[in-house]
């Protein structure tokens, strides 16, 4: 067994992981583990911008940004976290500029800003120019800049080390009121070195999860192949709850059929969505800010246009993103990449022809619950000392039931930085937790089980069927029947998953094995999402139940918390499925009363 010892181990090397590493690496002995290379992380695919109330081009302030974030999340946002994010956004952008990020500039040489969905002046009066950007490559520039600064600070990376387990020890403890409970403590992680096929145990005082999302549970998605919910799945399997997993964002403008992202910044620069009649249909759904309404509203409107027969193309199954009225030079300067995507992948010339688009699965609002210091919660009130999470894998919760565009690049920078500082500071005062006996046991069991299986089921076939049912039944529109169908399907997939075969039996770069492991996480995450969606009998933000079309604050103004619980059998609960227990957690309010959400 190969054991490494670090003060801080960071799992994931995207924006949140590397932002954390820059802080932690200067304070404590830090290792960053990633199943890719850092520059392959999906932060690099983000396009449009990162909002901060710099007020460089028009009046703005962070309180308006806070309000927009809370309203955008349909009031399921923890308001203390939203305040932190909007306030620290300004320094987060300035930090990146000082690290070298090449933002677009105003004629005065300041960081330029543009409009984005749901970001408004004075509590919804009109769109505001708040998104700092670098053409339509803002995520690329953030990822590169953070990697460059990790190189500068000699951050230690373990590339292509796939973390498969979180080592947690349960200790007997007593609450202030005298009730006994199990306090979780983090001892480290287990990782699989893709190059050699060897397991490596990393003992650490602090562990930061920054491993990104789970978009590959869906077929049509803007997410990378590698975004398979590993971090969420690992934590869940070790008894950490997952918060608000039923809320998944569908980005309105994915390239039709492909799901490749076309930034909302296109609409920020003036592009318009049209149906088969050429109508600017968003005028009907959001009269004030139209095409710049938040993503859940636009995505639903698009799906509704298609459903009511006003879709475009031979099969009437998409709508059009129209940039043809914009100056080609303006498009070329502000949106060079997305226009190239349209040309390369669909053969459409955006200067002269509108681009076919349809909603694409984009972002998990839910994840591992944390407080504003990024400390992971093992229940509503109890933190796990030394365990942190930031970015898409986490739920702090700044996005509530629907994330505003640009707020994810902001989230990774603000809370990534907080996580790096907190993890390093904690490691200075803490001792190592003793590793459990045979720390690799669970991981070895999973890998050996998959390698020795001689069934006839293929990973790709099960994954495809999972993605098909999720697209058909768990997408923009949901009903009790559609969700129950998904759960029945998942139950059969889980049975078949026991009989999958991995053809590659080697140790070297066994990516066949890796895909089989990933499928296990995808099945777990799809199930947690769907159980949450079935339980939430209301419509809020990204979660829309056709059988419960209204928001129901009385019953559901609260976070959902899903726990792995093998004592739950299918028969013991009408709303849960075997192995998952659902509880709730109060939403934190500071100064904003819930109002009806109109744009």
């Amino acid at each position: 067994m190969q054991v490494h010892k670090y003060d801080v181990v960071i799992v994931g090397a995207g924006g949140a992981g590397m932002r954390a590493a820059i802080e932690s690496g200067q304070r404590a002995r830090t290792a960053v583990l990633t199943k890719l290379y850092p520059t392959r992380s999906h932060t690099g695919a983000a396009q449009g911008g990162m909002c901060a109330a710099l007020a460089n081009v028009e009046e703005d302030n962070w309180e308006w940004h806070t309000f927009d974030t809370i309203k955008g999340g349909d009031y399921l946002v923890d308001q203390d976290a939203a305040e932190v994010m909007a306030k620290e956004a300004i320094d987060a952008v300035l930090d990146l500029e000082k690290m070298g990020l090449p933002f677009n500039r105003t004629p005065e040489g300041r960081i330029d800003q543009r409009r984005f969905g749901g970001h408004t002046r004075d509590h919804g009066k009109a769109p505001v120019r708040r998104a700092c950007y670098a053409a339509d490559r803002t995520g690329h520039m953030i990822l590169q800049t953070l990697y460059q600064n990790c190189v500068k600070h000699n951050v230690e990376f373990y590339n292509e080390y796939y973390v498969l387990d979180l080592l947690i020890v349960d200790e007997d403890a007593v609450r202030e009121d005298g009730t006994p409970y199990k306090q979780k403590r983090v001892a480290g992680v287990v990782s699989y070195d893709l190059a050699s096929g060897e397991l490596h145990v990393f003992q650490a005082k602090s562990v930061v999860f920054a491993s990104g999302g789970a978009g590959k549970v869906f077929k049509t998605t803007s997410n990378a192949h590698t975004l398979t919910g590993d971090g969420m799945g690992i934590a869940f399997r070790r008894g950490i709850p997952l918060e608000d997993m039923e809320f998944f964002q569908f980005h309105p403008t994915g390239l039709a059929g492909l799901g490749i992202l076309l930034t909302e910044g296109a609409r920020g620069e003036g592009a318009i969505l049209r149906n088969s009649e050429g109508e600017r249909f968003m005028e009907r759904y959001a009269p004030t800010i139209k095409d710049l309404a938040p993503r859940d509203i636009v995505a639903r409107a698009m799906a509704n246009e298609v459903r009511e027969g006003r879709g475009c193309g031979p099969n009437k199954d998409y709508v059009l993103l129209d940039l043809t009225h914009l100056e080609p030079a303006h498009i070329e300067a502000k949106l060079p990449d997305i226009t190239e995507f349209a040309r390369t992948y669909l053969g459409v010339e955006p200067f002269t022809d509108p681009v076919p688009v349809f909603p694409t699965a984009h972002y998990a609002m839910g994840g591992i619950p944390t407080n504003i210091t990024t400390e992971v919660l093992q229940d509503n009130d109890t933190i796990v000392p030394g365990l942190y999470a930031a970015g898409e894998v986490a739920c702090v919760s700044v996005h509530g039931s629907n994330r505003l565009g640009t707020n994810s690049l902001l989230d990774i920078n603000v809370f990534g930085k907080r996580a790096g500082i907190a993890a390093a500071e904690y490691s200075k005062t803490a001792d190592f937790v003793e590793l459990p006996e045979d720390p690799e046991a669970m991981t070895r069991g999973i890998l050996d089980g998959l390698l020795s299986g001689n069934g006839t089921e293929r990973v790709a076939q099960i994954r495809k069927e999972l993605q098909d049912t999720m697209d058909a039944n768990m997408q923009v529109f949901r009903t009790k029947e559609s969700l129950e169908q998904v759960l029945r399907d998942i139950a059969s997939f889980e049975e078949r998953y026991k009989h999958v075969t991995v053809q590659d039996k080697g140790k070297r770069f066994n990516l066949d094995l890796l895909e089989a492991v990933e499928l296990g996480f995808l099945l777990d995450m799809a199930k947690v999402m769907t159980v949450g969606a079935l339980h939430r009998e209301e419509s809020r933000g990204g979660h829309y139940r056709e059988d419960f079309p209204d928001r129901d604050d009385e019953k559901f103004m609260k976070h959902s918390m899903a726990y792995l619980d093998n004592s739950v059998t299918a028969a013991s609960s009408a709303e849960s499925v075997a192995g998952i227990r659902l509880e709730t957690k109060p939403v934190i309010f500071t100064r904003y009363e819930p109002m009806e959400r109109k744009y």
């Binding site: 520039m141 059929g257 475009c312 076939q461 053809q503 066949d512």
Partner: protein, 260 residues
């Protein structure tokens, strides 16, 4: 396995004005993949796979079809699948490209389509190479902003023109398509290679940076820019359209102008 399993890249039917008759054409290809797994044999070999693909499919879709339906041991890196993460640079019909950005219909499908690992880096397995020497060269050019002045409380100012000066080289995704297309790099693994020079260029010409002279000195080394023979392979290979050879030439000129 007889069922059609792998989804085509896009099943969307476009209007006739864009896509001709609107029907998605399917066609047959032979994908010829360079295989190497030292756990099995020290010898590399070619494996042929006959596949039915759709008109909008990419080389990556063909590789996935092989891996998911025929032979799970075929190994290659990939992640974003739309040309921004830089994982899947490979040699396709003898040219360096990203598999996720190369549409099959743009290749000659009457002949086998050959797919090999990029050249000049040690092959680990099939299409996977050891990227460490590549990233080592990148790290050696000090690819990060160095500013010796006082930190302003707000952002550093930069004019639109100054920002534009180095825009082209900020697009690099470190896929190694350029470096591994360079004949000098093939014969001399010590050469920094185009990608490292591109990333040095990105800072040398950034008005906010104060360490241009140090980088120019590094690149004035015998393994630096002077090894470039201006064959333009790198510019042709770059999936981001960076004018790599031009960037190298600008670095050469800067060294001469500053007379280091």
């Amino acid at each position: 396995m007889t069922t059609e399993m792998a989804e085509p890249a896009s099943k969307i039917e476009l209007p006739a004005s864009v896509a001709g008759d609107g029907e998605i054409p399917t066609f047959h290809i032979t994908l010829r993949v360079r295989r190497y797994d030292p756990e099995i044999s020290e010898e590399a070999r070619w494996d042929d796979y006959k596949l039915t693909m759709y008109g909008t499919d990419r080389v990556l879709d063909a590789l996935h079809k092989v891996k998911w339906e025929i032979d799970g041991s075929v190994s290659f890196r990939r992640s974003c699948a739309h040309g921004v993460c830089g994982s899947d640079a490979m040699r396709i019909n003898g040219r360096n490209r990203l598999a996720c950005k190369t549409l099959l219909k743009d290749l000659d499908t009457s002949k086998p389509i050959t797919v090999e690992p990029i050249k000049g880096l040690p092959v680990e397995k099939d299409l996977i190479v050891d990227m460490e020497p590549f990233f080592q060269s990148f790290r050696e050019v000090m690819p990060f902003l160095i500013n010796k002045g006082h930190e302003p409380t707000k952002e550093r100012l930069q004019s639109v023109e100054d920002r534009e000066r180095f825009d082209d080289t900020t697009k690099c995704i470190l896929c190694a398509a350029c470096t591994s297309s360079c004949p000098v790099f093939w014969t001399d693994g010590q050469y920094f290679g185009p990608a490292a020079i591109v990333n040095a260029h990105r800072f040398i010409f950034d008005s906010r940076d104060d360490a241009g002279d140090m980088r120019l000195e590094i690149l004035n080394d015998k393994e630096g820019v002077w090894r470039c023979r201006t064959t333009f392979n790198c510019s042709e290979a770059c999936p981001r359209g960076i004018q790599v050879t031009k960037a190298i030439a600008e670095v050469k000129q800067a060294i001469l102008a500053r007379k280091i």
